[in-house]
């Protein structure tokens, strides 16, 4: 399948539909097409945002809940640009610093009427945007009991991840590095450990900077990646979106294929026999 973009110049490979050689990508009982999920923030224009999302092949897109600007001095809501029939709108609770505040935003997002998923964020620190993990676990437990399907943005701490799963999260979303930092995958070991120990899907959320980061992250065996700034802040967002789709697919295939063992010595690839005297 070729994913069209508004420019019509970026061809995407046959990767955005489900790969029969892979397991279906299912989160909270909902099957998604692409293991790459993308945000809708920080684009230079709404037209560029839509074109980049199309180039990424993503079907899940995150959105934030904010007050309507009654003076219309800001841009219109994202629903004027993205069709809820075409994209799965995943409301986030970005900007919330307490469990109560995050739950209020989650309930407002659900009341929009599209689905009962929420990308739950409870931020604990303005400078690093690292999560308040205690508040996060509390909000996950309460919202899950209310029927939400909670995808919890967290740090790369195994114990928190286990507690989020126990609290009812349908997906745990550890960061590769801080939100918007583009520092890439800082602790592959921690991400691998979380993946090995949890049963729910692990979707790395935040920190990817470029395609190799996405590929390396997927090679750890995680189920998917959510990113925003790496695409939106690229010099050419459409091209980076297409690169990210390739990288996520490549990383997934490499993980499934199983890498060769690392060796500290060279091993020739060509036969030693048959050499001339």
């Amino acid at each position: 399948m070729t994913v069209s973009s508004s420019s019509g110049t970026l061809d995407s490979p046959a990767t955005s539909s489900h790969d029969p050689a892979d397991l279906p990508f299912v989160v909270g009982g909902q099957q998604f097409r692409s293991r790459l999920m993308v945000g809708t923030g920080k684009y230079a224009s709404n037209a560029e945002m839509v074109a980049a999302i199309e180039a990424s092949g993503a079907d899940v897109v995150t959105v934030a809940v904010r007050r309507v600007d009654l003076d219309r001095s800001h841009e219109e809501g994202v629903l004027h640009h993205l069709s809820p029939e075409r994209f799965f709108l995943l409301a986030n609770t970005a900007g919330c610093y307490t469990a109560d505040e995050a739950m209020r935003y989650a309930r407002l997002g659900r009341a929009a009427g599209f689905n009962d998923f929420v990308k739950l964020e409870v931020i604990g620190d303005e400078e690093t945007l690292l999560p308040d993990t205690a508040g996060l676990v509390e909000a996950t437990r309460t919202l899950s009991a209310e029927g939400f399907r909670v995808m919890a943005y967290t740090n790369d701490d195994l114990i928190t991840a286990l507690r989020l799963e126990d609290a009812g999260a349908v997906a745990v979303m550890p960061l590769a590095s801080p939100i918007g930092s583009g520092l890439g995958l800082l602790n592959p070991y921690a991400i691998r450990t979380i993946k090995h120990r949890l049963s729910v899907p692990i979707i790395v959320d935040a920190g990817v900077g470029t395609a190799s980061d996405a590929c390396l992250t997927m090679e750890q065996g995680v189920d998917g990646i959510l990113m925003n700034t790496a695409i939106a802040a690229a010099r050419e967002p459409l091209r980076m979106a297409a690169a990210m789709q390739l990288a996520v697919t490549a990383g997934r295939h490499a993980y499934l294929a199983g890498r060769m063992p690392r060796r500290e010595v060279a091993v020739p690839s060509s036969p030693l026999a048959g050499m001339l005297d």
Binding site: G41, V63, V65, G77, N92, L108, I179, N228, T229
Partner: protein, 77 residues
């Protein structure tokens, strides 16, 4: 909505954190009409309670001191 044009008493309420005066007897649907907001694209929180039934907007009469939050989806990560 015609009656909102008529002169008469107004009531004071808070909409998205800002004070606002509307004609007495206005419903939520009247207010959204005045603000030119499509009810299908927003979510309304009325005195901290989320209104999940959009059909009820036309029967909800606003009273002095009401606090309304009108929210929608914007770009985010």
């Amino acid at each position: 909505m015609m009656h909102t044009e008529a002169p008469g008493a107004t009531i004071a309420l808070t909409v998205n954190g800002e004070p606002r005066a509307i004609p007495e007897g206005s419903t939520l649907a009247d207010l959204l009409g005045t603000l030119q907001l499509d009810p299908r694209l927003i979510v309304v929180e009325h005195n901290r309670e989320i209104l999940r039934d959009r059909d009820a907007y036309s029967t909800l009469e606003l009273v002095p001191g009401d606090i309304l939050e009108l929210v929608h989806f914007v770009g985010g990560g």
